[in-house]
Amino acid sequence: MKELLILVVVTVFTLVTYYLVEPFAHATLHKHVESEAFAYADLPAITKLGDATRGKELVLGAGACTGCHSINVADISAPMDAVGAAGAYGVNPPDLSNAGVVYDEKFLNALIKNPAHTLMVEHKFDESKGEMHPMIPFYGAGGDIEQETADMIAYLQSIAVSSEKLTPAMAFENACGRCHGVKYEKWTQVGTKSSFKHKKDELAFDIKVLDYQDSLKAYMGKLPPDLSMYIRSRGEHYISTFMENPQNYLEGTSMPRVGVSADTAEKVIEYLEDAGDTKRHEREETGKYVMIYIIIFAIFGVLWKRQVWRDLH
C-alpha cells in the first residue's frame, strides 16, 4: 500500500512537470491558429454555372492564360522554360493541367480577377504605387465576368485528373514546389533532380536550379526554405493552417495564400510526412510488437519476483 502511495506521488510530480514544460509551455510560446477548414470565407461564392467548352475558348483565347502558363494535357507549352520564366516573373507560373483539382474553385474564381488580393500579398503589390502582381488580373472578355470566370474554372476542372488520381507528389509540386525545394525527396524548384551519368549534366542542372533560385530570392526577399523536415519542425497543424493563411503566423510575409482545397492540403501533408517522417508506418507496426514483447517481459518480472520473495517474507 505504501509503495502504491509512493508511486502516486512520483507520478503526480512527474506529470505536473511534464504538463508545465510541454503542453502548457508550448501553448504559451506559440500562437495557436484555428483551422478555417479551407473554406476561404472572405472570398465571394461562385454564382454562375460554368460551361467547359466556352471556358476552353476563354482560357486559350481572350483570357490570355497561355501567354504565361503551360497546359501540358492540352499540348500547350509555356513560352519560356522555368528559369526564363522565373527571370521574367520572379517565379515560374504553374502549369494549369491540374489547377482545377489542386486549388479551391472559390479561390480560383477570385484569383483570376484579383491575384494580389486573393493571394493576400497586397502589402507587397500595391497597384496605386505601380507595383503590379506578375499575374495580370482578368478584367473580362466583354460578357458577364462572373459567367466567364465560372466557365474558365469549369474548363480547368474538366481537364484535371480526378481527385483520387491526384498523388501527394502532384499536389505538392503544383501547390508548393515552384518556391520550395525538398532535398530529401530530390525535389528542386525546377523539378526532380534525377541521377546523372555525367558530372557535366549534373552541374548543368544545378546551375539551372541556382539561376532559378536567384530570381526567386529577388522576388520573395529570401529563398523560401527547404521543406524536407517541416513535418517534424512545424508539425501537421502548423503547416496546414499556414497554407490556409500565412499572414496569420507571419504578418507581412511574402508567401502568398496557397489556395489549395482541403483534399490537396491533406495530400501536401502526406507528401511532407513521406519526406520527413518516412518510417511512420514501420514505427507503428514495430511499436506493437515491441510493446507486446515488453509487457510479457514485465509479467515474467513479476512472476520471478514473487517466486524469489516467497521465502523472504
Binding site: K2, E3, I6, L7, V10, F13, T14, V16, T17, Y18, L20, V21, E22, F24, A25, T28, L29, K183, Y184, P225, S228, M229, Y230, R232, S233, R234, G235, G276, T278, K279, E282, R283, E284, T286, G287, V290, M291, I294, I295, F297, A298, I299, F300, G301, V302, W304, K305, Q307, V308, W309, D311, L312, H313
Partner: protein
C-alpha cells in the same frame, strides 16, 4: 607462482585462474542488501538499463553519424532516419533515453535526499552520484550539439557564452572552448569527441566509483535503521531467510529490480514509439543557421531549473547564482548538520524543506521554458530566491533538529 592442478571442469579451470566463485559471492550472492526497501531502490538498476540502452543505440548511431557541419544534419535526418534499416528506432531510443535518464536521475536524487542516504558514511555515494549527474549533464549537452540543428547551434552559442563570465569578459576563453569565434567545425568536432569518448569514459569510471562507494556503508533502507550486516547475513545463510533483515543482491534484490525494470520498460517503449516528441525539440529539426536566431531558445527540460536560476538576475549575479546551483547539491552531506539518517517525514523542519525544494525546482523548471515576461518573470525570480534561501536555511534548521 600459484599452484595449479588439472582442472576437473571448465568452472574449476576458471576458478583456479579467476576465482569466479568468490567473485560471484562478493558481487552477487553474498552482497547484502536491506530487505526493508521500496521500488525507489530500483532506480539504480533502471539507470544501468537506461545507460545500456544509450550506449547500444549510440554505437549504432555512431556508425552513420558524420561530425561535419555540412553533413551532420542530413546524416541524422536523412541517412539515419530514412536510409539505414531501423536507424529511426535507434535514434528515437537514444533521444528518449537521454531525456528519461534525467527523470530517473532526479527521482534517484530526491529518494536519496528524502531517506537521508547521504549521511553517516554514505557521503561518497552522494558525491560520486553528483559527479555522475555533472558527467551526464555534459554528455547530454554535447550530444545535443551533434544533430547540428537550430537548437544545437544556439544552445551551443548561449552555453559557451557563459564562460565569458559576464563582466570578466573572458572572450578568449569562449573562443578557446569553441575553437572559433562562433560554433563551427572545430566546435562540432570537439563536442563529438567529448560525447562519444571522453565523457562516456568518465561516466563508466564514475559508475564504478559510485558502486564501490556503496560497499562499505551498504545500501540504506526505508527507516534509516542501522543494520548489523554480518549478523543478519549469518541469519540468512543459516536458513532464516524470513527473519533476516538482509537479502542477497542476486537473485533476491535483483528479482525485485527486474520487476520494476519491466514496468519501466513498458513506459519507456511507449514513449519511444508513441510519445517521443517531448524528447526531440521541433526547433532542432531546422538546420543550424547562424543568421537566424530562433524566437525562443531554451535548454532541454532537465536543465531548465538551473537555467532559470541564471535568468532572472543581472548578468554577473545570475552567473554567480548559476554557479551556486551547480555545486550546492554536491555539498548536501555537509550542509545538513543533523545526525539523523531517517526519512524526511520524521525530521522536523527538514520535512518541509524537502517538499519546498521539490516544488521550487518544479516551479523553476516550468519558468525556465516560458518566456521571461510578466508573471512568469516574477515567479521565476521568487523561485530562484527561494532556492538560494532554502540552501542557506538548511544548515540552520538541521542544526537545531532534535535527535530522532
Amino acid at each position: 607462482m600459484a599452484h595449479f592442478t588439472k582442472a576437473t571442469s571448465i568452472k574449476d579451470w576458471l576458478n583456479q585462474r579467476l576465482a569466479i566463485e568468490k567473485v560471484e559471492k562478493v558481487l552477487a550472492s553474498e552482497y547484502w542488501i536491506p530487505k526493508n526497501i521500496n521500488f525507489l531502490w530500483a532506480m539504480g538498476m533502471i539507470l544501468v538499463v537506461t545507460f545500456a540502452l544509450l550506449l547500444v543505440s549510440g554505437i549504432f548511431l555512431l556508425m552513420y553519424y558524420q561530425p561535419n557541419v555540412d553533413l551532420a544534419f542530413d546524416s541524422v535526418n536523412y541517412t539515419i532516419m530514412r536510409e539505414v534499416g531501423y536507424g529511426w528506432l535507434w535514434r528515437h531510443v537514444h533521444g528518449v533515453a537521454a531525456s528519461v535518464v534525467f527523470l530517473i536521475i532526479y527521482i534517484h536524487m530526491f529518494t536519496g535526499i528524502y531517506y537521508g542516504s547521504y549521511k553517516k558514511g554514505r557521503e561518497m555515494i552522494w558525491i560520486s552520484g553528483m559527479l555522475l549527474f555533472i558527467a551526464f549533464s555534459a554528455e547530454a549537452f554535447s550530444g545535443y550539439m551533434l544533430p547540428w540543428g537550430q537548437m544545437s547551434y544556439w544552445a551551443g552559442m548561449v552555453i559557451t557564452n557563459l564562460f565569458a563570465g559576464g563582466s570578466l569578459h573572458a572572450d578568449g576563453l569562449v573562443e578557446w572552448i569553441r575553437g572559433d569565434y562562433v560554433p563551427a567545425q572545430a566546435f562540432l568536432s570537439r563536442f563529438f569527441m567529448l560525447h562519444v569518448l571522453l565523457i562516456p569514459l568518465a561516466i563508466i569510471g564514475l559508475i564504478g566509483l559510485h558502486f564501490g562507494a556503496l560497499r562499505i556503508p551498504h545500501v540504506n533502507n526505508q527507516d534509516g535503521e542501522e543494520i548489523d550486516f554480518d549478523e543478519e547475513s549469518k541469519k540468512y545463510l543459516a536458513g532464516d531467510k524470513a527473519g533476516s533483515k538482509v537479502i542477497r543482491f542476486a537473485n533476491d534484490f535483483m528479482a525485485k529490480d527486474m520487476m520494476v525494470v519491466g514496468f519501466y520498460l513498458v513506459f519507456f517503449f511507449y514513449l519511444v514509439f508513441y510519445h517521443y516528441g517531448f524528447a526531440m525539440d521541433p526547433v532542432n529539426f531546422d538546420p543550424a543557421d547562424g543568421l537566424k536566431t530562433p524566437a525562443h531558445i531554451y535548454p532541454e527540460w532537465y536543465f531548465l531549473w538551473s537555467y532559470e536560476i541564471l535568468r532572472p538576475f543581472s548578468t554577473d549575479i545570475g552567473l554567480m547564482a548559476f554557479a551556486f546551483a551547480q555545486v550546492i547539491f554536491m555539498l548536501l552531506p555537509f550542509l545538513d548538520r543533523s545526525p539523523n539518517a531517517v526519512p524526511a517525514s520524521r525530521r522536523g523542519l527538514f520535512k518541509y524543506w524537502f517538499w519546498a525544494m521539490l516544488v521550487d525546482m518544479i516551479a523553476l523548471t516550468a519558468m525556465g521554458k516560458l518566456p521571461p515576461e510578466g508573471a512568469f518573470s516574477t515567479i521565476g525570480l521568487v523561485a530562484a530566491l527561494v532556492f538560494i534561501g532554502l540552501w542557506i536555511a538548511l544548515p540552520v534548521i538541521t542544526y537545531f533538529e532534535k535527535k530522532a
